[in-house]
Each structure stands twice: as structure tokens, then as C-alpha cells.
Symmetry: none
């Protein structure tokens, strides 16, 4: 964060291990409850080593978010490429599934993105970037939509995707069956909506 602080050096093996450990610990405990010492220990490193590469705890979270969001960007880019050919139903299904899949393989992402206490600036970037990519995915299906309207639609879609994630591991669900039914409902909602909005 500060200028004289050591930059995290991409490519340094230790950095990768530290980030992996951080992902683990953040996923388990959330940003606030995670401690830098524990992260270092999980990376079989020392606390001193961690601070050699990251100036603050917040910087660790930021780097992690950035690393993971790069993966998300890639996935969405792939969707943008392949998605032009899908019909609306498939589009809805894929969109709902995309974030669920992603967060399943990056469990720390959700906690870091939503948690108060987490670094704000990066989070906003990620959200905005995702929104832009959603616009890219949706655009081919509604060539006539103005840019402002398209962004509004993308924003709404983004919310549905987040809802899908929330539903997917909602501990308030009465049963797995009920959770699945709710998820299907959400998919249906998105499909109907897109059918109208993109026409």
C-alpha cells in the first residue's frame, strides 16, 4: 500500500503459496477473523515472509481478489464468445450457473467480496468489470438496445447471478430439495425476463 513497501513479485513461488493459503483461511473464517499469522502458517511460511511480499493484510486480500477475478474474467470472456449462438433459455441457464460454478471453486471470493472490512476499491472494480462483460454477453442477443438500457439489464442480471449463489448455499433453506426448487425458479425468472428484455 505504501510506496516503499515491497511489491508482491509475480512469479515468486512463495507468493503463490501465500495466496493459496490466504484463500483457504479467508474462505474458512472471513476477512476479519483471519489472521496474518495463520495465513503465513498455512503457507508454511513465517509472518515475516508474508510481510516481505504484502505490505498489509488488506493487500493480501486485494491480491487474492485480483487473482481470482482474473479467472472470472476469463470465464465470462469465454461465455461472450460462445454465447452469441445460444437461445435465451440456454443463456439464462448458463448465466445462473456461471457464478455458482465459479464460487464453488473459489470459496474465499464470496466472503471477501461481500464482507464489510474487506478492501473496497478492488471490489468495485471487479463488480464494474463483471457488469461490462455481461453487457458483452448480452449485446449480441439484443442489438437494438441502447447502451444505457443494456447496462441496466446487465446490472439486473448480475444481481440474479449473485442471488443464485446465495441460494445455492443458503443455510436457511428448509431442504436441499427446496433449495433446488428455488434455484430453478430463479432460472425461470431470468429466462422470462430476458425473453422480454432482449426482444
Amino acid at each position: 500500500m505504501s510506496a516503499r513497501a515491497p511489491r508482491r513479485q509475480r512469479g515468486h513461488a512463495r507468493v503463490e503459496v501465500l495466496l493459496a493459503a490466504a484463500a483457504q483461511v479467508f474462505a474458512d473464517k472471513g476477512y476479519d477473523a483471519a489472521t496474518t499469522t495463520e495465513i503465513a502458517a498455512a503457507a508454511q511460511s513465517s509472518i515475516g515472509s508474508l510481510y516481505q511480499f504484502f505490505p498489509t493484510k488488506e493487500a493480501v486480500a486485494q491480491a487474492l481478489i485480483q487473482q481470482q477475478s482474473a479467472d472470472l474474467t476469463q470465464r465470462l470472456a469465454a461465455m461472450a464468445e460462445a454465447g452469441a449462438g445460444w437461445d435465451v433459455e440456454e443463456l439464462a441457464r448458463r448465466l445462473v450457473g456461471a457464478l455458482i460454478d465459479f464460487r464453488a471453486s473459489h470459496p474465499s471470493f464470496a466472503r471477501l467480496i461481500d464482507t464489510p472490512g474487506a478492501p473496497a476499491a478492488v471490489v468495485l472494480d471487479v463488480r464494474r468489470g463483471m457488469r461490462l462483460q455481461l453487457m458483452d454477453i448480452l449485446a449480441p442477443h439484443a442489438p437494438s438496445l441502447g447502451k444505457a438500457r443494456l447496462m441496466a439489464v446487465a446490472t439486473a442480471v448480475q444481481q440474479v447471478m449473485k442471488s443464485a449463489v446465495a441460494l445455492n448455499d443458503d443455510p436457511a433453506a428448509d431442504s436441499p430439495t427446496a433449495a433446488r426448487a428455488a434455484l430453478a425458479e430463479l432460472r425461470e425468472m431470468l429466462r422470462i425476463y430476458l425473453q422480454t428484455a432482449l426482444s
Copy 2:
């Protein structure tokens, strides 16, 4: 773990003040970053007084959530009563607005409900309770729907309502105009969806 009941008038008053102060502080900083000392100070109480009525910091948050969720329950109950006569468009508008309004007047509620580190059990109760009330609101509009399906619909609606709140004070929005547009989009999505689902 729950609040010790005050047995004197002075005690009741103090509890109210403490909860109000807690609402303030939790809203500002979130559960983890809020300190019991600050809450007591904001209530112009001593820290000892706080712990006279609440055994732990968590109990303070629980009591606050319970107090506020009682208000939410009331609002939703009112909607259930009045809502039978609304057409689908009004229903959608009201639902989207309901949670926005509520959280505007209870800013701490959102942070406490979503935050990791916050008391889990009460949160689940609140979510489940809200879902049940949504079922009550929706039922008159779709008498033929089975109970399981109705619950799935209610769950989806609940997510849209939460999305609306998120959108309403989304710091990632490019402009207030864009935020409003996205909100309108969400409302439209809900309307279209309900039209189909409740028919």
C-alpha cells in the same frame, strides 16, 4: 446468551438507549469493527451497564436484530393484509420498495444480517420468517399454486428484494441515474415473472 431482562424502569430505558446506540455503531462499522466500549459510550452508559443487560457483544447484536425484525414482520403483515387487492404491477413495485424502505430506516439491519461474524441462528430465523410472510402475501394472487412451488416463488422474490436493496446503495453504480435505471429493470423483471408465475 440472550438479553437479561431488566426489572426496573430505569433498566428498560437503558436497554432501549443501548440498543439504539448499538444500531448506530453497527450501522457505521459493521459487527466486527464495532466495539462494546463504543456502543456503551454512544449510549452514554458505562461499559458495565451494557454487560448488566447483555452477556456478550453477540447478544447485543441478537437483541437488535430481533427488535428490528419485529418491525419488518409488522410491515410485511400489513402488506399481506392490503396486498390481496393489488394488481401484479403494484405488487411488484411494493415488494421491491418494501425492503428498501425498511433498510433505509434500519441501516444496521443489513450489515448485521449479512456479516459473517454476526450471530447466525437469529439470522436464519429472520430469513425463514420473512419467506413465510412472503408466501402469505403471494398466496391470494395464485390460489392454485402448491405449497412447495409457492415457497420456491417466495424465495426467488425474497432474493429480488435483497437485490433491490443492494442496488439501491450500490457504490459500484456509475451514477445515480444508472442506479435508478437498474432498479427499474429489477422491478420490471419481478413484474414479468410474477405475471407468469402467479397466473
Copy 3:
């Protein structure tokens, strides 16, 4: 402790209940860990009531010690009266048993007497008083002993009696059988010793 403080009023029913509760709590937790609030609660009283009769926590312990040591005094007095007729073996047996019996029925006494943090002055009085009574018990068996020597013997006997108590509920004992054997050994030691010392 302070002059203006309310004296504990003998005969007031509340005082008796409070002392009984204090005995219970002190026995369970020891002097330091016991809290005045818990004592009051155990007496089904309020903390205010407790401080109406006892100026400090220490005063409660003092009163309790005094009350119980009066009972001890009585028992030893009884022994002094009956003991002149006993032979040395019976004397040894009774002495060893006396403190064990007493502490069994006053479990808080031991913790209060030995615990650092407990009121010192009263404790010394109790010890000295007990020593004097032991001299009374022993004197008839050794009419020729000088007073100084008698006191030394009494002091040694007192230590053996305390040892007996310690042994009786020694958690370091390997088995109840071993504990009993050690106790018997102690009794034997006292017998042999008294045989010589009192002749």
C-alpha cells in the same frame, strides 16, 4: 470493615441465609473465584442486601470463618472434657479424626483457611485458638510437661491433624485404598509420638 458500615446483625434471618450461601459458594470455588453477586443469588437475595450486612467480600469470609470456627472450638472443648480418660491410642485416633470430620461438614473452611487472598487476621486467631485447645486436651496426659514444650507438642499435633485432612481428600492418591493406608500410617505416627512425648 469501615466504621460507618452496617454491622452484620446476629439473629437477622437474612444474615444466616447469606452465610450459608457463602459457605456453599466458597466451598465450590474458593475465595477468589467466588463472587459476591453469586453469593447473594445463592441466598436468593440481592447484591444490595448482602452489602447491607457485610461491608466487603472479605467481611463475609471472616464472618463465615468465625461462625464455623465456633463450632470447631466446641468440638475441641468436648474432646478436652472427655479426653482425659482416653489412652494414647484412642487419643491419637480421635485427634486425627476430629479435623477430618469437621471439614467434612464444613467444606468451605479449608479453602478459606488456606487460601491466599483470604482474610489473614481471623485465620491466625483460629489457628492460635485451636493450638490452645489442643494444649488443654494434651495437658492431662502429660502433667509434668512445661508450658513451652506443651505448646510445641500441640503445634506438631496440629500439623498432623491438618495432614490427615489433606490426605483424606488428596486427589494425588493412587487409590482409595492407598489413601486409607496412608491415613492409618499417620495415625500410627501420632500414636508412637504421643506415647513418647507424653510420658
Copy 4:
């Protein structure tokens, strides 16, 4: 619960200083009244340093007990080696003196061992260990004694040794002269007893 092992020289030194400071403070105030802050200050360390090596206050006491009891073990071992040649009188004298000497140079030991609130498990180990060593010391003097009997004798001897310590700094003694006389009496009791028991 036990001490975290330091991995650097500086750490080892710090642990030593901390334990010495803890010995001082525990000796002065006892376990409960001693505070970790004061211990750290007495060691001219920060409170953080203390908790770097000891997870809890109890662990500090445990480590201290273990360190000191190692010394006690050594002394008793020396007695076991040299003691075979002593006559019973010398044996009694040495036994009575051993614990007095030891506790004189380790003043915190007594308070930690007897105090309720102190760590229990270690204390039991120490007591049992001492008992075993006493058996080693006594055995050569009574080759014909069965093991069970020997243990009972050792236990009784152990109690006398503790009594000697108690007497040695008994604030209830009327005078130093009286205290010395009582101590002599105790020594005599042990001598007579051992003469009989070990024959």
C-alpha cells in the same frame, strides 16, 4: 496449553527472564492476584512477548512449576544416593530440612502448589513424583517393607515434610523460639516414627 518453544536464542533468554519474573510475582501475590501484565513488566518485556511463548497465564504457572520441580527432583535424587548410609536420626533431620531448604530458594513453589486456582494436573504429577522418590530414599532403610506399606510410609513422611515448611514460616507462631521448638518437635516425631516403621 504448554509453553511454545522458542526457536531463537533471544527467545530462550526471554523465556528464562519471564519465568524468573513470574516466580517473583507469584511468590509475592499468589496465582490469582498475580497479573500477566505485572509479570511481563517485571521481566521488562511487553505483554505481547509473554503471550508469544505462553498461551495462557496458567501455562506460565505450569512451566514454572515444572522448571522448579525438576530442581526438587534433583535434590531428592541426591538424597536417595547419599541417604543409604545415614542413620535414622540423620535421615529424619535431612528429610525435614530438605523441603524447607527447597522452598526457601523457590518461594513461589509453595503458593503455586497449594493454591486453588493453580493448574491442577501438573501439581498432581509433582506430588506423585516426590512420593516415588521418597520411596527410593526410604527403601534401603527398610528392605523388608512391602511396596504398598512403603508407599504409605512415604506419603506420611511427605506430609511431615510439608508440615515442616508450614511451620517454618507460620505467621501464627507466637515467637521465633516457639517456631523453632515446634520444628524440633516435628523432627523428633519423624525420627521416632521412622525408627519403628523402618525396623
